[in-house]
Symmetry: C2
DNA sequence: CGCTTAAACATGAAATTTCATATATTGACC
DNA sequence: GGTCAATATATGAAATTTCATGTTTAAGCG
């Protein structure tokens, strides 16, 4: 879920009601607030957010098959197929059929794609470090653990 | 952000690399994993996720103006205008111009909209309670606070 | 084998989302 | 009051996303 670029700032009314304390809202709002700046950086480099996600996943696992990549990058499969095609057209990735199972299509970074991806990962690391530095010691240290726990609790099929 | 309905499950490889420990990924993945079930319930009742968000916000603040509602519901303004129009067509909300400032359009729940919204909020509360119950005491207690802190740190203009 | 079912991707039409911009109204200031 | 900038919402075309389904290949089994 990407940050709605033009979403206007919220009002200044009292913080009350159902929504501001609802877990799913807090998760979505935190994700969006945390991502907004960095995603703007990504787009400024001519990369869309789903493309960035795919690049990041391929840095971790080059040659992954489409379905797995979709799960890893949080993108629905038929959408990923189209994104991959665009990234292929831009020269960032190539596709090769899997020899052992010819239904599968494996996706590889091109040299240009790897250069771009490495740069973005470096940017992401810097941005993340700055973000964590802004948090008070206790929260900064524990939030990632709490999120990982939540994810594992909800989606045990995780890798 | 909505859960990619057809996103396939992740592989079972080793949990390593950049992505699985990256804060923005953890936030997005946690948001999606936590929302998936409930959003499926919402859609099963014929309500799309952005519509549900608007309904929930209106339960908190009926008669809010479009721009504020957009911020509160995490939806970009021009998109919200269209969503509101559809919700109006479905008889869930009505729009009335603000007397004091005629640029503004205020959005109100209809009786049918309120009935629907109240039901969904009740569902959401139940779902949230079940979710929190699945977490170990420590994490369950602190995750909402951590997220709220993160949001405030990043977006001080919050209400 | 031959058959049936399932998995992995691709595809196309419909719907939504985005982006830039238009319109209307208000506010500020001279 | 008139003028200029800013705010609030709407709109339209282009692009993306979704949903259902098609195609190809693999697996299971009698």
């Amino acid at each position: 879920m990407d940050a709605p670029a033009g979403a206007t700032t919220r009002g200044e009314g009292a913080k009350h009601g159902f929504v501001p304390d609802y877990l799913l809202y807090l998760l979505a709002a935190a994700s969006e607030a945390a991502s907004a700046q960095f995603h703007a950086q990504v787009r400024a480099k001519g990369v869309r957010v789903p493309e960035w996600r795919v690049l990041a996943c391929l840095v971790d696992r080059d040659g992954e098959m489409v379905t797995r990549l979709a799960g890893y990058a949080l993108v629905e499969q038929s959408r990923l197929t189209k994104i991959i095609a665009q990234m292929d057209a831009k020269g960032w990735v190539t596709r090769r059929g899997d020899a052992a199972d010819r239904r599968r299509v494996r996706v590889y970074l091109t040299p240009a794609g790897r250069t771009l991806a490495d740069r973005l990962v470096a940017d992401a690391r810097r941005h993340e470090a700055a973000l964590l530095a802004k948090l008070e010691g206790g929260d900064a240290a524990r939030i990632k653990q709490a999120l990982a726990t939540l994810i594992e609790e909800l989606d045990p099929a995780q890798e």
